[in-house]
Protein backbone atom coordinates (compact mmCIF):
# COMPACT_ATOMS: atom_id res chain seq x y z
CA UNK A 1 0.00 0.00 0.00
CA UNK A 2 2.76 2.37 0.95
CA UNK A 3 4.61 2.06 -2.34
CA UNK A 4 1.46 2.75 -4.36
CA UNK A 5 0.92 5.95 -2.48
CA UNK A 6 4.50 7.00 -3.07
CA UNK A 7 4.09 6.42 -6.81
CA UNK A 8 1.01 8.71 -7.07
CA UNK A 9 2.69 11.50 -5.15
CA UNK A 10 5.71 11.33 -7.44
CA UNK A 11 3.60 11.74 -10.60
CA UNK A 12 1.59 14.54 -9.02
CA UNK A 13 4.67 16.53 -8.22
CA UNK A 14 4.87 19.36 -10.68
CA UNK A 15 7.75 19.14 -13.08
CA UNK A 16 9.04 22.55 -13.96
CA UNK A 17 10.71 22.67 -17.34
CA UNK A 18 12.57 25.61 -18.85
CA UNK A 19 11.37 26.81 -22.28
CA UNK A 20 13.91 27.18 -25.06
CA UNK A 21 11.82 29.58 -27.12
CA UNK A 22 8.65 31.67 -27.00
CA UNK A 23 5.56 29.51 -27.43
CA UNK A 24 2.82 32.06 -26.97
CA UNK A 25 0.40 30.30 -24.61
CA UNK A 26 0.67 33.30 -22.32
CA UNK A 27 -1.97 34.89 -24.52
CA UNK A 28 -4.58 32.59 -23.00
CA UNK A 29 -5.38 35.19 -20.36
CA UNK A 30 -6.26 37.60 -23.15
CA UNK A 31 -8.43 34.97 -24.88
CA UNK A 32 -10.30 34.25 -21.64
CA UNK A 33 -10.73 37.94 -21.04
CA UNK A 34 -12.25 38.45 -24.49
CA UNK A 35 -14.72 35.65 -23.90
CA UNK A 36 -15.63 36.91 -20.45
CA UNK A 37 -16.15 40.44 -21.71
CA UNK A 38 -18.56 39.16 -24.30
CA UNK A 39 -20.38 37.05 -21.77
CA UNK A 40 -20.59 39.75 -19.13
CA UNK A 41 -20.61 39.23 -15.39
CA UNK A 42 -23.42 38.82 -12.91
CA UNK A 43 -23.35 39.88 -9.28
CA UNK A 44 -26.23 39.41 -6.85
CA UNK A 45 -26.30 41.55 -3.74
CA UNK A 46 -28.82 41.34 -0.91
CA UNK A 47 -29.34 44.07 1.68
CA UNK A 48 -30.82 43.20 5.05
CA UNK A 49 -31.69 45.60 7.83
CA UNK A 50 -34.43 47.63 9.44
CA UNK A 51 -35.92 50.38 7.37
CA UNK A 52 -34.30 53.77 7.63
CA UNK A 53 -30.70 52.63 7.94
CA UNK A 54 -29.66 53.96 4.57
CA UNK A 55 -29.56 50.63 2.70
CA UNK A 56 -30.91 51.87 -0.60
CA UNK A 57 -28.84 55.03 -0.49
CA UNK A 58 -25.67 53.05 0.21
CA UNK A 59 -26.26 50.71 -2.73
CA UNK A 60 -26.82 53.70 -5.00
CA UNK A 61 -23.64 55.29 -3.68
CA UNK A 62 -21.60 52.08 -4.06
CA UNK A 63 -22.42 51.72 -7.72
CA UNK A 64 -22.62 55.42 -8.47
CA UNK A 65 -26.05 55.17 -10.03
CA UNK A 66 -29.67 55.31 -8.96
CA UNK A 67 -30.52 51.63 -8.77
CA UNK A 68 -32.97 51.38 -5.89
CA UNK A 69 -35.61 53.73 -4.54
CA UNK A 70 -35.73 54.41 -0.83
CA UNK A 71 -38.88 52.79 0.43
CA UNK A 72 -40.03 52.76 4.00
CA UNK A 73 -43.40 54.40 4.35
CA UNK A 74 -46.02 52.13 5.81
CA UNK A 75 -48.78 51.34 3.41
CA UNK A 76 -52.31 51.12 4.74
CA UNK A 77 -55.28 49.17 3.55
CA UNK A 78 -58.79 50.63 3.28
CA UNK A 79 -59.42 50.57 7.03
CA UNK A 80 -56.32 52.54 7.84
CA UNK A 81 -54.53 49.53 9.30
CA UNK A 82 -50.85 49.46 8.32
CA UNK A 83 -49.95 46.46 6.19
CA UNK A 84 -46.48 45.11 6.47
CA UNK A 85 -44.90 43.61 3.43
CA UNK A 86 -42.17 41.13 3.94
CA UNK A 87 -42.04 40.26 0.27
CA UNK A 88 -38.56 40.02 -1.00
CA UNK A 89 -38.07 42.01 -4.17
CA UNK A 90 -35.20 41.95 -6.62
CA UNK A 91 -34.29 44.55 -9.15
CA UNK A 92 -31.71 44.06 -11.92
CA UNK A 93 -29.66 46.59 -13.79
CA UNK A 94 -26.87 46.31 -16.32
CA UNK A 95 -24.07 48.76 -15.67
CA UNK A 96 -21.03 49.18 -17.83
CA UNK A 97 -17.54 50.42 -17.13
CA UNK A 98 -14.67 50.44 -19.68
CA UNK A 99 -16.34 47.83 -21.81
CA UNK A 100 -17.03 45.48 -18.89
CA UNK A 101 -20.71 44.75 -18.48
CA UNK A 102 -22.05 43.82 -15.05
CA UNK A 103 -25.56 42.57 -14.48
CA UNK A 104 -26.19 43.71 -10.95
CA UNK A 105 -29.17 42.32 -9.05
CA UNK A 106 -30.12 43.97 -5.79
CA UNK A 107 -32.46 42.12 -3.46
CA UNK A 108 -34.17 44.16 -0.81
CA UNK A 109 -35.87 42.83 2.29
CA UNK A 110 -38.51 45.38 3.24
CA UNK A 111 -40.33 45.02 6.51
CA UNK A 112 -37.49 43.21 8.23
CA UNK A 113 -37.41 44.03 11.91
CA UNK A 114 -40.02 46.76 11.71
CA UNK A 115 -42.90 45.02 13.42
CA UNK A 116 -43.72 44.89 17.08
CA UNK A 117 -43.36 41.13 17.03
CA UNK A 118 -40.48 40.19 14.78
CA UNK A 119 -40.52 36.49 15.44
CA UNK A 120 -39.60 34.45 12.38
CA UNK A 121 -39.13 37.56 10.22
CA UNK A 122 -35.93 35.98 8.97
CA UNK A 123 -37.73 33.04 7.37
CA UNK A 124 -38.55 34.74 4.05
CA UNK A 125 -34.89 35.78 3.75
CA UNK A 126 -33.53 32.30 4.39
CA UNK A 127 -36.12 30.82 2.07
CA UNK A 128 -35.16 33.21 -0.73
CA UNK A 129 -31.47 32.35 -0.50
CA UNK A 130 -32.17 28.63 -0.39
CA UNK A 131 -34.65 28.91 -3.27
CA UNK A 132 -31.92 30.35 -5.48
CA UNK A 133 -29.67 27.42 -4.60
CA UNK A 134 -32.36 24.82 -5.23
CA UNK A 135 -33.28 26.46 -8.53
CA UNK A 136 -29.66 26.25 -9.62
CA UNK A 137 -29.35 22.66 -8.41
CA UNK A 138 -32.44 21.63 -10.31
CA UNK A 139 -31.09 23.18 -13.49
CA UNK A 140 -27.77 21.41 -12.94
CA UNK A 141 -29.42 18.03 -12.49
CA UNK A 142 -31.76 18.08 -15.49
CA UNK A 143 -30.62 15.77 -18.31
CA UNK A 144 -30.79 18.51 -20.94
CA UNK A 145 -29.33 21.50 -19.29
CA UNK A 146 -28.69 25.04 -20.48
CA UNK A 147 -25.21 25.79 -21.67
CA UNK A 148 -24.88 28.52 -19.13
CA UNK A 149 -27.16 28.42 -16.13
CA UNK A 150 -28.19 31.91 -15.10
CA UNK A 151 -26.71 32.50 -11.67
CA UNK A 152 -29.26 34.05 -9.33
CA UNK A 153 -27.53 32.83 -6.17
CA UNK A 154 -26.96 35.56 -3.62
CA UNK A 155 -23.23 36.34 -3.66
CA UNK A 156 -23.11 38.82 -0.80
CA UNK A 157 -25.44 39.91 1.98
CA UNK A 158 -24.83 43.37 3.39
CA UNK A 159 -26.19 43.22 6.92
CA UNK A 160 -27.04 46.67 8.26
CA UNK A 161 -26.60 47.36 11.95
CA UNK A 162 -28.32 50.32 13.56
CA UNK A 163 -25.85 52.91 14.94
CA UNK A 164 -27.12 52.62 18.51
CA UNK A 165 -23.61 52.72 19.89
CA UNK A 166 -24.41 50.02 22.41
CA UNK A 167 -24.53 46.47 21.10
CA UNK A 168 -26.19 44.13 18.66
CA UNK A 169 -29.88 43.43 19.24
CA UNK A 170 -31.04 39.87 19.81
CA UNK A 171 -32.75 40.01 16.42
CA UNK A 172 -29.53 41.05 14.67
CA UNK A 173 -27.57 38.25 16.27
CA UNK A 174 -30.20 35.66 15.43
CA UNK A 175 -30.56 36.64 11.80
CA UNK A 176 -26.87 37.25 11.09
CA UNK A 177 -26.05 33.83 12.41
CA UNK A 178 -28.68 32.10 10.32
CA UNK A 179 -27.75 33.86 7.12
CA UNK A 180 -24.00 33.41 7.62
CA UNK A 181 -24.53 29.66 7.59
CA UNK A 182 -25.71 29.74 3.99
CA UNK A 183 -24.28 32.87 2.39
CA UNK A 184 -21.51 35.48 2.63
CA UNK A 185 -22.45 38.06 5.26
CA UNK A 186 -20.71 41.43 5.42
CA UNK A 187 -21.80 43.46 8.49
CA UNK A 188 -22.11 47.19 7.99
CA UNK A 189 -23.03 50.02 10.37
CA UNK A 190 -25.53 52.24 8.58
CA UNK A 191 -25.78 56.03 9.06
CA UNK A 192 -22.53 55.96 10.96
CA UNK A 193 -22.33 59.75 10.87
CA UNK A 194 -24.38 59.76 14.06
CA UNK A 195 -21.43 58.29 15.95
CA UNK A 196 -18.33 60.20 16.99
CA UNK A 197 -15.04 58.50 16.21
CA UNK A 198 -14.66 57.35 19.82
CA UNK A 199 -18.15 55.93 19.96
CA UNK A 200 -17.61 54.24 16.63
CA UNK A 201 -14.40 52.52 17.74
CA UNK A 202 -15.99 51.27 20.96
CA UNK A 203 -19.11 50.11 19.12
CA UNK A 204 -17.12 48.21 16.50
CA UNK A 205 -15.05 46.51 19.17
CA UNK A 206 -18.20 45.46 20.94
CA UNK A 207 -19.79 44.14 17.77
CA UNK A 208 -16.67 42.14 16.90
CA UNK A 209 -16.70 40.58 20.38
CA UNK A 210 -20.34 39.64 20.04
CA UNK A 211 -19.88 38.20 16.57
CA UNK A 212 -17.06 36.05 17.85
CA UNK A 213 -18.95 35.03 20.97
CA UNK A 214 -21.90 33.80 18.95
CA UNK A 215 -19.69 32.04 16.40
CA UNK A 216 -21.00 34.07 13.47
CA UNK A 217 -18.75 33.65 10.46
CA UNK A 218 -18.55 36.82 8.43
CA UNK A 219 -16.93 37.25 5.02
CA UNK A 220 -13.97 37.27 4.38
CA UNK A 221 -13.35 34.05 6.20
CA UNK A 222 -10.12 33.62 8.09
CA UNK A 223 -9.66 30.02 7.11
CA UNK A 224 -10.97 29.73 3.59
CA UNK A 225 -8.87 30.52 0.55
CA UNK A 226 -10.35 29.16 -2.67
CA UNK A 227 -7.34 29.71 -4.81
CA UNK A 228 -4.79 28.29 -2.47
CA UNK A 229 -2.53 25.61 -3.80
CA UNK A 230 -3.18 22.78 -1.36
CA UNK A 231 -1.05 20.11 -2.97
CA UNK A 232 2.06 21.56 -1.41
CA UNK A 233 1.46 19.53 1.73
CA UNK A 234 2.50 20.33 5.26
CA UNK A 235 5.33 22.72 5.78
CA UNK A 236 5.00 24.36 2.35
CA UNK A 237 6.01 27.95 2.15
CA UNK A 238 3.35 30.41 1.08
CA UNK A 239 4.53 32.38 -1.87
CA UNK A 240 4.57 36.17 -1.92
CA UNK A 241 1.15 36.56 -3.46
CA UNK A 242 -0.60 34.24 -1.05
CA UNK A 243 1.00 35.98 1.89
CA UNK A 244 -0.13 39.35 0.59
CA UNK A 245 -3.64 37.99 0.10
CA UNK A 246 -3.76 36.74 3.66
CA UNK A 247 -2.57 40.09 4.93
CA UNK A 248 -5.28 41.83 2.99
CA UNK A 249 -7.91 39.50 4.39
CA UNK A 250 -6.72 40.08 7.93
CA UNK A 251 -6.69 43.83 7.38
CA UNK A 252 -10.27 43.71 6.16
CA UNK A 253 -11.39 41.52 9.03
CA UNK A 254 -10.06 44.25 11.30
CA UNK A 255 -12.23 46.91 9.72
CA UNK A 256 -15.42 44.88 9.84
CA UNK A 257 -18.12 46.03 10.51
CA UNK A 258 -17.72 48.85 7.95
CA UNK A 259 -19.02 52.15 9.32
CA UNK A 260 -20.60 53.73 6.28
CA UNK A 261 -22.38 56.84 5.16
CA UNK A 262 -24.14 57.03 1.82
CA UNK A 263 -25.16 59.94 -0.32
CA UNK A 264 -26.46 60.48 -3.81
CA UNK A 265 -26.06 64.24 -3.56
CA UNK A 266 -22.87 66.12 -4.27
CA UNK A 267 -21.35 68.84 -2.15
CA UNK A 268 -18.40 71.05 -2.95
CA UNK A 269 -15.36 70.52 -0.73
CA UNK A 270 -12.16 72.47 -1.46
CA UNK A 271 -13.39 73.27 -4.92
CA UNK A 272 -14.11 69.63 -5.78
CA UNK A 273 -17.54 68.07 -6.09
CA UNK A 274 -17.79 65.00 -3.88
CA UNK A 275 -20.66 62.92 -2.60
CA UNK A 276 -21.55 64.11 0.86
CA UNK A 277 -24.00 65.47 3.36
CA UNK A 278 -24.19 69.10 4.34
CA UNK A 279 -25.27 69.88 7.89
CA UNK A 280 -25.31 73.09 9.85
CA UNK A 281 -22.13 72.18 11.64
CA UNK A 282 -20.04 70.77 8.82
CA UNK A 283 -19.89 68.75 5.65
CA UNK A 284 -19.55 64.99 5.74
CA UNK A 285 -17.52 63.77 2.80
CA UNK A 286 -18.49 60.19 1.96
CA UNK A 287 -15.25 59.66 0.10
CA UNK A 288 -13.05 60.92 2.93
CA UNK A 289 -11.55 58.01 4.79
CA UNK A 290 -11.36 60.03 8.00
CA UNK A 291 -15.10 60.56 7.95
CA UNK A 292 -16.35 57.05 7.21
CA UNK A 293 -15.33 53.70 5.81
CA UNK A 294 -17.27 53.87 2.57
CA UNK A 295 -14.14 53.79 0.41
CA UNK A 296 -12.87 50.70 2.24
CA UNK A 297 -16.17 48.90 1.67
CA UNK A 298 -16.39 49.92 -1.95
CA UNK A 299 -12.86 48.81 -2.73
CA UNK A 300 -13.37 45.57 -0.90
CA UNK A 301 -16.65 44.83 -2.58
CA UNK A 302 -15.93 45.91 -6.12
CA UNK A 303 -12.20 46.23 -6.59
CA UNK A 304 -10.63 43.36 -4.71
CA UNK A 305 -13.13 40.72 -3.69
CA UNK A 306 -15.94 40.76 -6.23
CA UNK A 307 -14.83 37.55 -7.90
CA UNK A 308 -13.97 36.01 -4.55
CA UNK A 309 -17.50 36.55 -3.30
CA UNK A 310 -18.90 34.82 -6.37
CA UNK A 311 -16.42 31.96 -6.07
CA UNK A 312 -16.99 31.33 -2.37
CA UNK A 313 -20.75 31.33 -2.89
CA UNK A 314 -20.51 28.79 -5.67
CA UNK A 315 -17.74 26.58 -4.29
CA UNK A 316 -18.53 26.59 -0.61
CA UNK A 317 -22.04 27.70 0.25
CA UNK A 318 -23.73 26.20 -2.78
CA UNK A 319 -21.75 22.99 -2.56
CA UNK A 320 -22.68 22.64 1.11
CA UNK A 321 -26.34 23.09 0.22
CA UNK A 322 -26.07 20.68 -2.69
CA UNK A 323 -24.44 17.97 -0.56
CA UNK A 324 -27.12 18.25 2.11
CA UNK A 325 -29.91 18.11 -0.46
CA UNK A 326 -28.51 15.14 -2.36
CA UNK A 327 -27.82 13.20 0.84
CA UNK A 328 -31.37 13.89 2.00
CA UNK A 329 -32.74 12.76 -1.36
CA UNK A 330 -30.69 9.61 -1.16
CA UNK A 331 -31.97 8.83 2.32
CA UNK A 332 -35.54 9.56 1.29
CA UNK A 333 -35.39 7.29 -1.75
CA UNK A 334 -33.49 4.60 0.17
CA UNK A 335 -36.29 4.20 2.74
Amino acid sequence: MATEQKKTTASEKKLRVALTGYVGFDSITGQIEKKLLKRGFAFNLMVVGRSGLGKSTLVNTLFASHLVDSKGLLKTNENGVPIQTTEIQSVSHIIEENGVRLKLTITDTPGYGDQVNNDKCWEPIIKYIKDQYSGFLRKELTPTRDRRIADTRVHAVLFFISPSGHALTPLDINVMRRISEIANVIPVIGKSDSLTIEERTAFKKRIKEEIEYHGIKTFPYADVFVDEDLSGGLGSVLDEEERADRQLVNAIRDVIPFAVVGSEKSVVVDGKAVRGRRTRWGVINVENEDHCEFIALRNFLTRTHLQDLIDVTSMIHYEGFRTKQLLALKEASGN
Binding site: L74, T76, G80, P163, W281, G282, V283
Partner: protein, 279 residues
Protein backbone atom coordinates in the same frame (compact mmCIF):
# COMPACT_ATOMS: atom_id res chain seq x y z
CA UNK B 1 -34.95 51.16 22.08
CA UNK B 2 -31.52 50.77 23.57
CA UNK B 3 -29.07 53.20 22.21
CA UNK B 4 -31.59 55.86 21.24
CA UNK B 5 -30.00 58.35 23.59
CA UNK B 6 -32.54 58.35 26.40
CA UNK B 7 -30.09 58.20 29.30
CA UNK B 8 -27.80 60.78 27.71
CA UNK B 9 -30.79 63.06 27.16
CA UNK B 10 -31.82 62.85 30.79
CA UNK B 11 -28.29 63.54 31.94
CA UNK B 12 -28.09 66.51 29.58
CA UNK B 13 -31.45 67.83 30.80
CA UNK B 14 -30.41 67.65 34.44
CA UNK B 15 -26.88 68.77 33.66
CA UNK B 16 -25.45 65.94 35.73
CA UNK B 17 -24.95 62.19 35.35
CA UNK B 18 -28.23 61.07 36.82
CA UNK B 19 -28.63 57.88 34.89
CA UNK B 20 -25.56 55.74 34.60
CA UNK B 21 -25.27 54.25 31.21
CA UNK B 22 -25.39 50.53 31.59
CA UNK B 23 -22.88 49.00 29.26
CA UNK B 24 -23.37 45.30 29.42
CA UNK B 25 -19.91 44.12 30.13
CA UNK B 26 -20.01 40.83 28.35
CA UNK B 27 -21.66 39.44 25.30
CA UNK B 28 -23.19 36.61 27.25
CA UNK B 29 -25.42 38.73 29.43
CA UNK B 30 -26.41 40.88 26.51
CA UNK B 31 -27.68 37.96 24.48
CA UNK B 32 -30.31 36.94 27.03
CA UNK B 33 -33.81 38.34 26.37
CA UNK B 34 -34.20 41.44 28.47
CA UNK B 35 -37.23 42.17 30.57
CA UNK B 36 -38.10 45.80 30.56
CA UNK B 37 -36.87 47.34 33.74
CA UNK B 38 -38.90 50.40 34.74
CA UNK B 39 -36.76 52.42 37.14
CA UNK B 40 -37.75 55.82 38.57
CA UNK B 41 -34.99 58.20 39.70
CA UNK B 42 -35.71 61.42 41.58
CA UNK B 43 -33.57 64.54 41.47
CA UNK B 44 -34.09 67.78 43.27
CA UNK B 45 -33.34 70.93 41.36
CA UNK B 46 -33.10 74.25 43.08
CA UNK B 47 -33.45 77.60 41.38
CA UNK B 48 -33.61 80.87 43.30
CA UNK B 49 -35.01 79.11 46.31
CA UNK B 50 -37.71 77.32 44.34
CA UNK B 51 -37.34 73.56 44.58
CA UNK B 52 -38.36 71.22 41.81
CA UNK B 53 -38.44 67.53 42.40
CA UNK B 54 -38.03 65.88 39.05
CA UNK B 55 -38.64 62.17 38.74
CA UNK B 56 -37.43 60.49 35.63
CA UNK B 57 -38.66 57.03 34.75
CA UNK B 58 -36.40 55.23 32.36
CA UNK B 59 -37.42 52.19 30.36
CA UNK B 60 -34.23 50.43 29.35
CA UNK B 61 -34.71 47.47 27.10
CA UNK B 62 -37.91 48.69 25.47
CA UNK B 63 -38.05 47.74 21.82
CA UNK B 64 -34.97 45.55 21.94
CA UNK B 65 -36.51 42.14 22.02
CA UNK B 66 -37.69 40.13 19.08
CA UNK B 67 -41.22 40.24 20.40
CA UNK B 68 -41.98 43.60 21.97
CA UNK B 69 -45.65 43.19 22.81
CA UNK B 70 -45.23 42.48 26.54
CA UNK B 71 -43.28 45.70 27.02
CA UNK B 72 -46.30 47.85 26.16
CA UNK B 73 -48.36 46.20 28.87
CA UNK B 74 -45.61 46.73 31.43
CA UNK B 75 -45.36 50.45 30.79
CA UNK B 76 -49.12 50.95 30.69
CA UNK B 77 -49.40 49.06 33.96
CA UNK B 78 -46.85 51.33 35.62
CA UNK B 79 -48.76 54.45 34.58
CA UNK B 80 -52.13 53.08 35.58
CA UNK B 81 -50.71 51.89 38.88
CA UNK B 82 -49.89 55.49 39.82
CA UNK B 83 -53.47 56.45 38.98
CA UNK B 84 -54.77 53.65 41.14
CA UNK B 85 -52.74 54.89 44.07
CA UNK B 86 -54.22 58.36 43.67
CA UNK B 87 -57.72 56.94 43.39
CA UNK B 88 -57.36 54.89 46.53
CA UNK B 89 -55.91 57.92 48.32
CA UNK B 90 -58.78 60.13 47.23
CA UNK B 91 -61.34 57.60 48.33
CA UNK B 92 -59.90 57.24 51.83
CA UNK B 93 -61.89 58.47 54.73
CA UNK B 94 -58.80 59.97 56.25
CA UNK B 95 -56.55 61.29 53.52
CA UNK B 96 -52.84 61.70 53.88
CA UNK B 97 -51.94 65.37 53.23
CA UNK B 98 -48.36 64.46 52.50
CA UNK B 99 -49.20 61.89 49.88
CA UNK B 100 -46.74 62.00 47.01
CA UNK B 101 -48.14 62.38 43.54
CA UNK B 102 -46.23 59.90 41.45
CA UNK B 103 -48.33 60.22 38.36
CA UNK B 104 -46.40 60.46 35.13
CA UNK B 105 -46.93 63.97 33.76
CA UNK B 106 -45.08 63.61 30.47
CA UNK B 107 -43.95 60.64 28.42
CA UNK B 108 -41.15 61.44 26.01
CA UNK B 109 -41.23 58.93 23.20
CA UNK B 110 -37.93 58.62 21.38
CA UNK B 111 -38.40 58.11 17.65
CA UNK B 112 -35.50 56.74 15.67
CA UNK B 113 -34.23 59.10 12.96
CA UNK B 114 -34.97 56.77 10.08
CA UNK B 115 -36.19 59.47 7.74
CA UNK B 116 -39.16 57.33 6.77
CA UNK B 117 -41.95 58.23 9.19
CA UNK B 118 -43.27 56.19 12.09
CA UNK B 119 -42.84 52.45 12.51
CA UNK B 120 -45.61 50.08 13.47
CA UNK B 121 -44.27 49.88 17.01
CA UNK B 122 -44.21 53.67 17.36
CA UNK B 123 -47.80 53.98 16.18
CA UNK B 124 -49.12 51.16 18.34
CA UNK B 125 -47.31 52.33 21.43
CA UNK B 126 -48.31 55.98 21.22
CA UNK B 127 -51.89 55.03 20.41
CA UNK B 128 -52.02 52.75 23.46
CA UNK B 129 -50.50 55.23 25.85
CA UNK B 130 -51.79 58.53 24.49
CA UNK B 131 -55.14 58.30 26.34
CA UNK B 132 -53.34 57.83 29.66
CA UNK B 133 -50.40 60.20 29.60
CA UNK B 134 -49.16 63.29 27.78
CA UNK B 135 -47.05 61.85 24.98
CA UNK B 136 -44.46 64.09 23.37
CA UNK B 137 -42.64 62.52 20.42
CA UNK B 138 -38.96 63.36 20.31
CA UNK B 139 -36.46 62.64 17.54
CA UNK B 140 -33.30 61.41 19.17
CA UNK B 141 -29.80 61.57 17.73
CA UNK B 142 -31.00 64.32 15.45
CA UNK B 143 -27.44 65.07 14.36
CA UNK B 144 -27.60 62.16 11.95
CA UNK B 145 -29.83 64.21 9.64
CA UNK B 146 -29.25 67.29 7.52
CA UNK B 147 -31.66 70.23 8.05
CA UNK B 148 -33.69 69.29 4.96
CA UNK B 149 -33.95 65.65 5.99
CA UNK B 150 -34.99 66.70 9.49
CA UNK B 151 -37.77 68.96 8.25
CA UNK B 152 -39.03 66.32 5.84
CA UNK B 153 -38.94 63.72 8.60
CA UNK B 154 -40.78 65.96 11.10
CA UNK B 155 -43.45 66.59 8.49
CA UNK B 156 -43.83 62.87 7.78
CA UNK B 157 -44.10 62.03 11.47
CA UNK B 158 -46.77 64.67 12.04
CA UNK B 159 -48.67 63.43 9.00
CA UNK B 160 -48.54 59.89 10.36
CA UNK B 161 -49.70 61.13 13.77
CA UNK B 162 -52.71 62.85 12.29
CA UNK B 163 -53.43 60.01 9.86
CA UNK B 164 -53.46 57.35 12.57
CA UNK B 165 -55.20 59.70 15.00
CA UNK B 166 -52.52 59.31 17.62
CA UNK B 167 -53.24 61.42 20.71
CA UNK B 168 -50.22 63.52 21.72
CA UNK B 169 -49.62 66.61 23.80
CA UNK B 170 -49.67 69.32 21.20
CA UNK B 171 -49.62 72.51 23.25
CA UNK B 172 -53.33 73.13 23.32
CA UNK B 173 -54.53 76.67 23.55
CA UNK B 174 -57.87 78.33 23.59
CA UNK B 175 -58.36 80.89 20.86
CA UNK B 176 -60.80 82.94 22.92
CA UNK B 177 -59.49 82.61 26.43
CA UNK B 178 -55.74 82.74 26.13
CA UNK B 179 -53.79 85.90 25.46
CA UNK B 180 -51.89 86.47 22.26
CA UNK B 181 -48.52 85.71 23.74
CA UNK B 182 -49.63 82.28 24.91
CA UNK B 183 -51.23 81.51 21.57
CA UNK B 184 -48.09 82.52 19.71
CA UNK B 185 -45.85 80.51 22.00
CA UNK B 186 -47.99 77.39 21.73
CA UNK B 187 -48.29 77.64 17.98
CA UNK B 188 -44.54 77.94 17.68
CA UNK B 189 -43.92 74.94 19.93
CA UNK B 190 -46.57 72.93 18.10
CA UNK B 191 -44.79 73.67 14.85
CA UNK B 192 -41.56 72.28 16.22
CA UNK B 193 -43.07 68.89 17.01
CA UNK B 194 -41.54 66.37 17.13
CA UNK B 195 -38.60 67.95 18.94
CA UNK B 196 -35.20 67.08 17.58
CA UNK B 197 -32.73 66.46 20.36
CA UNK B 198 -29.07 65.80 20.72
CA UNK B 199 -27.62 64.91 24.09
CA UNK B 200 -24.11 65.23 25.36
CA UNK B 201 -22.37 65.04 28.67
CA UNK B 202 -19.06 66.23 27.22
CA UNK B 203 -18.05 69.86 27.29
CA UNK B 204 -15.39 71.69 25.37
CA UNK B 205 -14.30 75.29 25.26
CA UNK B 206 -15.35 76.95 22.02
CA UNK B 207 -14.56 80.60 21.37
CA UNK B 208 -13.95 81.17 25.04
CA UNK B 209 -17.18 79.68 26.32
CA UNK B 210 -17.92 76.21 27.62
CA UNK B 211 -20.18 74.34 25.26
CA UNK B 212 -21.86 70.96 25.52
CA UNK B 213 -21.32 69.26 22.23
CA UNK B 214 -20.44 66.26 20.12
CA UNK B 215 -17.21 66.35 18.17
CA UNK B 216 -16.97 64.86 14.71
CA UNK B 217 -14.12 65.01 12.23
CA UNK B 218 -16.26 67.33 10.12
CA UNK B 219 -17.54 69.69 12.75
CA UNK B 220 -18.91 70.24 16.21
CA UNK B 221 -22.60 69.90 17.08
CA UNK B 222 -23.75 72.11 19.96
CA UNK B 223 -26.52 70.87 22.20
CA UNK B 224 -27.74 74.28 23.33
CA UNK B 225 -27.62 75.91 19.92
CA UNK B 226 -31.20 76.20 18.72
CA UNK B 227 -30.01 76.16 15.11
CA UNK B 228 -28.58 72.70 15.68
CA UNK B 229 -31.45 71.10 17.59
CA UNK B 230 -34.56 71.80 19.66
CA UNK B 231 -33.09 70.70 22.96
CA UNK B 232 -33.10 74.09 24.64
CA UNK B 233 -36.71 74.75 23.61
CA UNK B 234 -37.79 71.36 24.90
CA UNK B 235 -35.99 71.90 28.18
CA UNK B 236 -37.57 75.31 28.63
CA UNK B 237 -40.98 73.94 27.85
CA UNK B 238 -40.67 70.95 30.17
CA UNK B 239 -39.13 72.58 33.19
CA UNK B 240 -40.46 76.07 32.90
CA UNK B 241 -43.23 77.35 30.65
CA UNK B 242 -45.43 74.28 30.36
CA UNK B 243 -44.61 72.52 33.57
CA UNK B 244 -47.89 73.50 35.10
CA UNK B 245 -49.93 72.86 31.98
CA UNK B 246 -48.85 69.21 31.66
CA UNK B 247 -49.56 68.60 35.31
CA UNK B 248 -52.98 70.17 34.94
CA UNK B 249 -53.89 68.10 31.94
CA UNK B 250 -52.68 64.96 33.67
CA UNK B 251 -54.83 65.68 36.68
CA UNK B 252 -57.91 67.22 35.11
CA UNK B 253 -58.21 65.31 31.86
CA UNK B 254 -56.20 62.10 31.72
CA UNK B 255 -56.64 61.00 35.31
CA UNK B 256 -60.32 61.87 35.28
CA UNK B 257 -61.03 59.92 32.10
CA UNK B 258 -59.18 56.91 33.50
CA UNK B 259 -61.13 57.23 36.75
CA UNK B 260 -64.46 57.42 34.94
CA UNK B 261 -63.63 54.37 32.85
CA UNK B 262 -62.47 52.40 35.83
CA UNK B 263 -65.38 53.23 38.08
CA UNK B 264 -68.07 52.70 35.47
CA UNK B 265 -66.54 49.37 34.52
CA UNK B 266 -66.49 47.98 38.00
CA UNK B 267 -69.62 49.61 39.31
CA UNK B 268 -68.98 51.17 42.70
CA UNK B 269 -66.35 49.84 45.04
CA UNK B 270 -67.89 47.79 47.78
CA UNK B 271 -65.13 48.06 50.34
CA UNK B 272 -63.54 51.49 50.16
CA UNK B 273 -66.32 53.91 49.48
CA UNK B 274 -69.07 54.36 51.96
CA UNK B 275 -72.36 55.69 50.79
CA UNK B 276 -73.09 59.08 52.22
CA UNK B 277 -76.74 59.33 52.90
CA UNK B 278 -78.08 62.84 53.16
CA UNK B 279 -81.22 63.16 55.12
Amino acid sequence: SSGSGKSTFVNTLCESPVILRKDHLDAEKAAAPKTINITPTTIEMDEDGLKLSLTVVDTPGFGDNINNEPAFADILEYIEHQYEEILSQESRIKRNPRFQDNRVHVLLYFVQPTGHGLREMDIEFMRTLGPRVNVIPVISKADSMTPQELNAFKKKVMEDISHYKIPIYDFPYDEDEDDEETIEENTELRGLLPFSVIGSEDEIVLNGRRVRCRQYPWGVVEVDNSKHCDFSKLRYMLLSSHLHDVKDITHEVLYESWRTEKLSKEGHHDDDEEEVVID
